[in-house]
């Protein structure tokens, strides 16, 4: 290594479309010198010693390019541009190189990137699902089979920032969270940060899921069907324009009534589209449309329950190259969310969010030093209404403003050391008329304007030190604010999907992350990681389980503090016929207030996932996924007593049983474990590929407990359980053309 040397720079574009390729590995064969291209396709290799090299451009799904370059002296600058051609088959060497570069360049701890191939080949539960895959990563746990909500390192699902093309998605789940709203083929890349995330991301406490929509490809498509839904997509390019539309819908509500005299009460659909226009070689405009809807209506079953929610997202993004090495991006977007729940005429809950956001980013990317500055302004309409007859109607409505500026600097002063430091300054303003009305008379019982004005400074630092070429030690610290919270009853184990903004009596939630880690890169590109962490929550809101809706001073949340700590281990096998990973998380999560202290209902002590896919050849693949997780806490029944009373009608003494509940989350369910297996076979035809897959969920039919209840009609009362998914086979067919 030398502090002086030549420079090789240039850009990498798609040969067919001319679009810049981000994340392409560019390295000198046989050396440790390499980098990956920035969003504008630009790369730069500095401090290259004099000599002759093979310069390699490699990228997943593209043919590798290898060029002989000669550097005559250490002051020379060599310009090398590359135009990569699409390739259907991935080259193992590409994988290895890109993983090495990722290992060397990535400074943020707790970062995961999952490619489409990995998503496609893990066992599926009826449908392939992004969130189900994320659940298998270290640091992530779940509360039941019926929700794919992510609980990351002791944080609740509402503490995760879910971005689709840089716009916030408020509820990326379908009913009960069984599936997420993302269709795998509509997604280009996924970055999942389980802690210590950089200042580019704000307004959440725990984790970031940054999803980029799929880029339009030359004309193609697919159609697949499973037991649950039918999904299809078409994409294409024409000159400077490209587009992709992916859609999915369940069909039980349409099909079952044809054969049975039964109106199936539920459906959902997803539509996800993206269009791009390359205005000039340096200017690109992209637009995203995303709409998901769930509807449950039990009225036809004479059950007066209805629920539904809908996400709508529209973004427009301008990407402008300003000249080497500057790039600017501007987004404007609207993310709408509506949720409604109705229990007869007794309870009606409505939540509506309209989030108008303008974001910008300016990046100067270099080999050793990268600056990034950005801004964000979100003007959000929040409505939360509850009408609980005959007690009261509760209504909060307001337009909180959240604005931020951030600056980040990534620097590699030494070949063995790099760091990223950043600061973010946010201003939050929320003003809400807090109105309480009598739902019978409509009389206003009380109005109070609740105002919050908060300045929220955040500092984040990540650093990485290479012990050897294959071993690194990293560290991340930072503070985080979050100006909203979700109503999540602990017993229900499923988020209600109703959001409440920080207002009046509720301050912004806060967290501090301390993460240290050690990682090792194997020769084949596989990685092993150990990451102990500690998260401190100086201010945290949890749902008030003693909520009395008849109380005019209705407090939805109990404020307090919290702490979460533990360690994540993972080892991945990235190449060969057998690929997969093993992840293990040890986790503790406590909530502490003046009157309460308890383990959260997602305090899962041990969480082990073993996933493997084996390529048998001839387009046959088999896979398996084993999960072992220790029992979750719950508040169960400990005892009972007779509640004696005087029956004034019959003039006699009577009683009924009252159960005695344990302290909040002071009991544990039995351990959860499950083995899923699957197999797929693909046939290639002139028109495309046909793939048939079969999966078995919970192969040995283990009864994983979701909740307990006591049947009080027996003496003594009998404990019964509601179990999660039993043995469940499924098949699916996909035609790709």
């Amino acid at each position: 290594m030398t502090l002086w040397g030549a420079t090789i720079t240039g850009s990498v574009v798609d040969k067919e479309t001319g679009e810049a390729i981000a994340g392409c590995s560019v390295y000198l064969e046989g050396t440790n010198i390499g980098t990956s291209t920035a969003s504008n396709g630009y790369y730069r290799l500095d401090r290259v010693p004099r000599g002759n090299y093979n310069l390699v451009f490699s990228m997943i799904s593209y043919k590798e390019i290898k060029r002989r370059v000669a550097l005559e002296n250490e002051a020379s600058v060599l310009y090398e541009n590359a135009r990569l051609e699409r390739a259907p088959i991935q080259m193992p060497a590409v994988e290895v190189s890109s993983r090495r570069i990722e290992f060397e360049q990535e400074v943020t701890a707790s970062s995961f990137r999952i490619d489409k191939e990995a998503l496609k080949h893990i066992p599926v539960m009826v449908e392939r699902d992004l969130f189900r895959t994320l659940m298998t990563l270290p640091g992530v746990t779940f509360v039941s089979d019926f929700t794919s909500a992510l609980y990351v390192r002791g944080g609740s699902p509402d503490q995760n920032l879910v971005l689709l093309d840089n716009m916030v998605l408020y509820n990326p789940f379908h009913f009960g969270g069984f599936l997420s709203t993302f269709m795998i083929d509509a997604v280009e890349s996924v970055e999942f940060l389980t802690g210590g995330f950089p200042v580019r991301y704000g307004n959440r406490l725990s984790a970031v899921l940054d999803v980029e929509s799929a880029d339009p490809q030359p004309l193609g498509g697919y159609l697949s069907t499973s037991l649950l839904a039918t999904e299809g997509a078409v994409w294409g390019r024409l000159g400077k324009f490209g587009g992709i539309v992916t859609a999915r819908r369940t069909y039980f509500d349409k099909v079952i009534p044809i054969f049975l005299d039964f109106d199936f009460p539920y459906y959902f659909y997803d539509i996800h589209g993206k269009g791009s226009w390359r205005v000039t070689p340096k200017t690109r405009i992209e637009g995203t449309f995303f709409n998901t809807k769930d509807k449950l209506d039990l009225a036809n079953q004479n059950i007066p329950i209805g629920a539904g929610w809908e996400n709508r997202l529209i973004t427009l993004r301008l990407i402008q190259e300003l000249g080497d090495p500057w790039i600017a991006k501007v987004w404007i977007g609207w993310s709408g969310y509506m949720a409604h729940m109705q229990f007869s005429d007794i309870l009606s809950d409505t939540n509506r969010i309209d989030d108008l956001s303008l974001r910008s980013m300016l990046v100067r990317a270099g080999e050793t030093s990268t600056f990034e500055a950005g801004s964000e302004v979100s003007y959000t309409r929040f409505i939360y209404k509850t009408d609980a007859e005959p007690f009261a109607a509760y209504n909060i409505e307001g337009w909180p403003l959240y604005s931020s500026l951030y600056l980040s600097w990534r620097y590699k002063p030494l070949p063995v050391f790099l760091f990223q430091a950043g600061g973010r300054l946010s201003f939050y303003y929320g003003s809400y008329p807090d109105t309480l009305r009598d739902s019978l008379t409509g009389d206003v019982l009380g109005v109070d304007t609740l105002i919050r004005r908060d300045l929220q400074p955040e500092l984040r630092l990540s650093a990485k030190y290479f012990l050897t070429a294959d071993d690194a030690f990293n560290l991340s610290v930072g503070n985080f604010y979050q100006n909203l919270a979700m109503i999540m009853p602990q017993g229900g184990r499923i988020p209600t999907n109703f959001w409440i903004p920080a207002f009046g009596r509720y301050e912004a939630q806060q967290a501090l992350h301390f993460i240290v880690g050690y990682e090792h890169l194997f020769a084949d590109g596989s990685r092993a990681r150990i990451e102990p962490y500690y998260k401190h929550y100086p201010y945290l809101l949890v749902f008030n389980e003693e909520l009395d809706i008849a109380d005019a001073t209705w407090n939805i949340f109990t404020p307090g503090a919290g702490r979460a700590w533990g360690a994540d281990f993972s080892i991945e096998k990235a190449s060969g016929n057998l690929t997969g990973w093993v992840s293990y998380s040890l986790a503790f999560s406590r909530f502490i207030s003046d009157t309460l202290e308890f383990y959260t209902n997602f305090d899962r002590r041990h969480n082990l996932n073993v996933l493997g896919t084996y390529d048998l050849g001839k387009n046959w693949r088999v896979n398996a996924h084993l999960t072992f997780a220790s029992g979750m806490p719950y508040a169960g029944t400990l005892g009972r007593y007779r509640m004696w009373y005087w029956d004034s009608v019959r003039q006699e003494w009577r009683y009924y049983w009252i159960t005695i509940e344990a302290d909040r989350n002071s009991l544990r369910f039995p351990a959860y474990h499950r083995l899923d297996i699957g197999a797929s076979k693909a046939w290639e035809f002139r028109w495309g590929t046909l793939t048939v897959r079969a999966d078995i969920i919970n192969l040995y039919n283990h009864k994983n407990v979701m909740l307990y209840y006591y049947d009080m009609s027996n003496e003594p009362p009998v404990q019964r359980s509601v179990n999660m998914i039993p043995f469940f086979p499924s098949v699916g067919v996909e035609a790709r053309f």
Binding site: D471, G639, V649, P716
Partner: protein, 267 residues
Amino acid sequence: MKRDLLLGFILLLFVGCESAEDDVFEPEPNVLALMRIGYSSPPSLRRQRIKVDRSYDIEDTVDRWGLRDAYVKVWGEEDTFIFIDSFFDEDSAKWFKYNEGNYYEWAYFDDTTLYHLEVALPWDDTVTAEAMMPTPIRIYTPADSDTVSISAEPYDPHVITWNSCKNTELYVIYCIPDVDDSLYKNYPNFLFFPSFTNDTSYAFFLQRMLAPWIYDEYYVLRVMAVSPEYAAYMGFFGPGEVYSNLSAGYGMFGGIAEDSVRVFIRE
């Protein structure tokens, strides 16, 4: 160095680990000391009952009705009443036990005295409480055996009226068909639901809003003055945690005053 780092991490984990023990059941006393204050037999001397029981593990078979061998005492400024769980049968000249957990005593309570309850349990534990009793209640109108016509309602509602009672949180009104319990099933359920008021009167018309009357029958109109403790215990104010004013465990020490009239209701 790698090995040291790994060892350091593992040590960190063990330092950070803490055990989480499951919550376990522990029995608690359960005492209902509801004093019933009557108006009908002055000077309202009445045989009072206090029920002494306990809580049970949810998985236990409960084959008993309460606790024997407790020492139960209620006292005010002047009087002290010892409640006992046995009685002497003069015919057979023997002592017998009441049902398990039932402790009785003839006792008179007035509405100006703060009464104290003390229950010494069979194990080394004592439960205490304090309460004041409601004033005896008396229905003024209608009179017993009246015939009430309610066809003119709501323009000319017939009203039940009674005296104002001290130490009373609310009044509960019942309108009960004067038939054997076994025949209650022939009447709409709503008819047996209580009505509540803080006033000293109640209109029949309001009762009729809940359920239509079945006319030309005898009904018992009963009014109960409820002490604040019993009102909270019964959850008359809406859902919430089960109330107790005992020093430990579950249950309540308080009182109710009742009076009733039997009337014939015609359309």
